[in-house]
Amino acid sequence: MPWDEGLVNSLVYDAPDRSEGRVLGYAGAIREALDLALAADPGVFVLGQGVDDPGSMFGTTKGLHEKFGRDRVFDTPLSEEGMMGACAGAAMNGMRPVYMHNRPDFILLAMNQLVTHASKFHFMDNGQTTVPMVVWAAIGRGWGSGAQHSQAIQGILLGVPGIKIVMPSTPFDAKGLMLAAIADNNPVLIFEHRWLMRKDGIVPEGAYTVQIGKGIHRRRGQDLTIVGASHAIELALTAANKVAAEGIEADVIDLRTIKPLDVEIIGESVKRTGRLLVVDTGWSMGGVCAEIGCLAAERWLEHLKAPVRRIGLPDIPTPAGFTLEQFYYPNVERMSAVIRGLVREQSAVSVP
């Protein structure tokens, strides 16, 4: 079994209700988005190591090179910085590249071109150029992915002006956000999660977009606000549904996009519930959890009935071994415990 296929295939998600529409798998939804974009716009091309190999990037690019030709869907040299720059250069000259990586860890090799070049050209040349490009990667977890194949680097990039960061959690969003990202005139990073790749969902046929920068309620409640994206919000939603049996009703917000951040949807909820739990697939320190926690302190302090809690990763590299992984990663049980604790907690903040 190659890499973590066995693990990912063994994950169980609730089956979608087929009466609500067509059911499609997560990877298939992304593939459909790429297929539609390639067909609609001759400027779109897809590149990345292995996009035309039998694994085809978890199936997201399967067969596209046969349908659209190897000029438009092509394997690349292992030159992450060079290729990232080439994407920026092509984007600056009328193309819309979609650069796919198995793991975000590889994007770290290309930080110079992403952070110092692609994100800044539009500003630096006073709007003469736009850089419409998509950079896609799937965050790994488990089965020995270890310190160098599991990094969720969105927190590192959150502070970089000029880029957008998208983190879908459903097949519907994966397709709609991919199409929105390709249509966007800025560099857009899409961080998927490996564990969502076999999740099924209702996915309409044809082209549609999900708005970048807008979150969505996955669950309504009044006792606390849970906010996050991608696999972290998937876990949190499972935990929230579990504690509902105990009478705790959580307001669960899937951000869909962490940059630009939908501050409004978070604020409306926090002001209502007075309790905030932020979840993320990345490190808590200095990342998405930290940023949203800080926002709460800056803007909604007088509404808080308890201190903000965050569930991300500890300030530790990912261990590769199975047992240590269980201690390292959040799971539904741990999230449920934090939710119970948060709802019981009284305010540590004295409000006049």
């Binding site: 720059g85 984007a91 736009t130």
Partner: protein
């Protein structure tokens, strides 16, 4: 000790090539070089006044590379460049007033006071982008050439960089990819032997950059970067190859930086390069050599040169006046173009 000796043909290199070109062509090349030199000298003369609050990287001594290469380009061809942009921008046809307004941090600078001297960009004339990271523009230009190939466009793309850029991985990655995809791209490497104050011998083993580049599977040539005609011919051949589907070319133009890495003045006295080496290159000034040839061939007289100089200086002084009288940006300008619509 002269570590980096000139290995070109000197005046003979002009004599051997010169008769192939009409007077107008020669005269334009010489005038373009003289114009860049005079602009650079005026910038240098006024730099201490602290009105140009921008790091400058003067191209004095390296005028022949920009002018020779751009003589082989049309307005549609794209040029990407590094931090040393003045020569590239002017030779590609960038507007002088917009350049100086940018240097003076004015709202009407070529990039609205967001770039300064290192980011002189004017897409209308194909001055398409620059990077202040040494090899930064090379992958970008590679992508521009990829776009041209995918769109079956007729233009060529040229990227200028210094020899130190060959030490960054992005340069190797770009050479490999450009050769792999046969992109319509010219890698123009100005080898002036120094990166800031680090001499080549501390950074690379003794070897030919041309041969190093050939190892990536693309044609490479070494040219006398002090000879504008030699640069023109190598660029013309490379650009023709790119336009005709022949793929990329690597040009190593051997030249010399007469000033320090940044700011005004020559910093040789600080000791990173020998004074006798610096002096030896003085006699190879790309303007003097070309003029010596032109005068000898009866194509340009001292009087002609003085007329050119006076015409150019009128233009330059007017442009400086225009820049210093131009408006500063307002706070609201800061917030535009962070994201594209």
């Amino acid at each position: 000790m002269i570590r980096y000796m000139y290995a070109g043909e000197g005046l003979d290199g002009f004599v051997r090539r010169g008769s192939s070109y009409p007077r107008e062509f020669h005269s334009k090349l010489f005038r373009d070089m003289l114009r860049i030199r005079l602009i650079e000298e005026e910038i240098e003369r006024r730099y201490h006044e602290d009105q140009m609050k921008t790091p400058i990287h003067l191209v004095i001594g390296q005028e022949a590379t920009s002018v020779g290469c751009c003589a082989a380009l049309t307005n549609d061809d794209l040029l990407y460049s590094s931090h040393r942009t003045h020569g590239n921008y002017l030779a590609k046809g960038g507007n002088l007033q917009s350049m100086l307004c940018e240097m003076f941090c004015r709202a009407n600078g070529c990039v609205g006071s967001r770039g300064g001297s290192m980011h002189l960009i004017d897409k209308r004339v194909g001055m398409a982008g620059t990077s202040a990271i040494v090899a930064g523009a090379i992958p970008i230009a590679t992508g521009a050439a990829l776009a041209a190939k995918l769109k079956r466009a007729a233009h060529a793309t040229v990227v200028f960089f210094g020899e130190a850029a060959t030490e960054e991985g992005a340069c190797s990655e770009s050479l490999n990819f450009a050769a792999l995809k046969q992109l319509p791209l010219v890698f123009f490497c100005e080898n002036n032997f120094y990166s800031v104050q680090s001499p080549l011998w501390t950074r690379q083993p003794s070897r030919s950059l041309r041969k190093w580049a050939e190892g990536f599977g693309l044609p490479a040539v070494e040219v006398d970067g002090m000879n504008v005609l030699a640069v023109y011919e190598a660029s013309r051949d490379a650009v023709e190859r790119a336009r005709n589907g022949g793929g990329p070319t690597f040009i190593e133009a051997v030249c010399y930086r007469y000033r320090g890495h940044g700011g005004s003045g020559d910093d040789t006295r600080t000791g990173y390069r020998a004074q006798d080496e610096r002096d030896a290159w003085d006699s190879l000034d790309p303007l003097s050599l070309h003029f010596q040839y032109l005068r000898g061939a009866g194509l340009l007289s001292d009087v002609d040169r003085e007329e050119m100089r006076s015409e150019i200086m009128t233009e330059v002084l007017e442009a400086f006046d225009f820049a210093s009288a131009s408006p500063n940006p307002v706070e609201g300008d800061l917030y535009s173009h962070v994201y594209a619509e």
